[in-house]
């Protein structure tokens, strides 16, 4: 009897688990989106000021190391990159690929969408203004 109940519990768990996992990832995606939205205007402003730029690794980076001494820049860059890493992992799981690959695709997207005058870090490590 106990064995049957245990078997039924396992079966139900196996059916419910993927659904609950996808719900959890959807919830965390929404949470991440909220964070990105909150920071968006600041990120855009810092990009326009030429203090931060996009890299080929799909992350934000200070154009000059001394800009990271600015508390606001440091906070935004670190928070944005932490959330981006989470996003890449979640999307990679969803699409059955690697976080690196998602990061590269996002970098490509950011490079193409970058506004004129924004800094973009090239593969050789040099910054280039669009």
């Amino acid at each position: 009897m106990n064995h049957t109940i245990r078997l039924i519990t396992v079966c139900v768990g196996m059916i419910v688990m993927p659904g609950s996992l996808s719900l959890a990832s959807a919830a965390s995606l929404e949470g991440l989106k909220g964070n990105f939205k909150k920071r968006f205007s600041t990120v855009v402003a810092l990009k326009k000021d030429g203090k931060i730029g996009e890299t080929k690794a799909g992350a934000l980076e200070a154009v000059k190391p001394e800009y990271m001494k600015d508390k606001r820049v440091r906070r935004i860059v670190n928070a944005e990159n932490a959330d981006r890493r989470k996003l890449y992992v979640l999307l990679a799981k969803q699409k059955k690929t690697t976080p690196q690959m998602v990061a590269q695709r996002n970098a490509r997207r950011n490079f193409s969408k970058a506004a004129k005058g924004e800094y973009l870090k090239q593969g050789d490590g040099n910054w280039k203004r669009k």
Binding site: K33, K37, F40, L91, K95, T97, R105, R109
Partner: protein
């Protein structure tokens, strides 16, 4: 047993035997005398045949025409497209917010200059 290596002997080789088919001894008076061949192990001819056989087999090329597989490229393209689509959907809010951020700047630029 060694066969006498004399220029007076002329050999007619049988390629399929391992010994000369017959040896003909030439005499000064042009008489030909058949000499019974002593079992004479000649390894040169069979060795040549074997070499020829080996050469023939080693030179044979086998060309396997396998069907062209393009699946991995398709899969990679498919994943790239799906990831791009997902990223576009996720960051769709950027365009709305971008227009909100840019609007004040556009308005200011559109304002006519008022000089007093």
């Amino acid at each position: 047993m060694a066969f006498p290596s004399n220029s007076k002997y002329d050999f007619q080789w049988n390629l399929f035997d391992q010994r000369p088919a017959r040896a003909i001894m030439k005499r000064e008076e042009d008489d030909e005398i058949m000499i019974n061949c002593v079992p004479f192990r000649c390894t040169t001819i069979p060795a040549l045949w074997m070499l020829l056989g080996l050469f023939a087999t080693s030179c044979g090329h086998t060309v396997d025409v396998k069907p062209i597989r393009v699946e991995p490229i398709h899969v990679t393209m498919d994943v790239n497209i799906r990831v791009d689509k997902e990223l576009d959907q996720f960051f769709a809010f950027e365009e709305e917010l971008q227009s909100e951020v840019e609007e004040p700047a556009v308005d200011e630029a559109a304002k006519p200059e008022t000089s007093s």
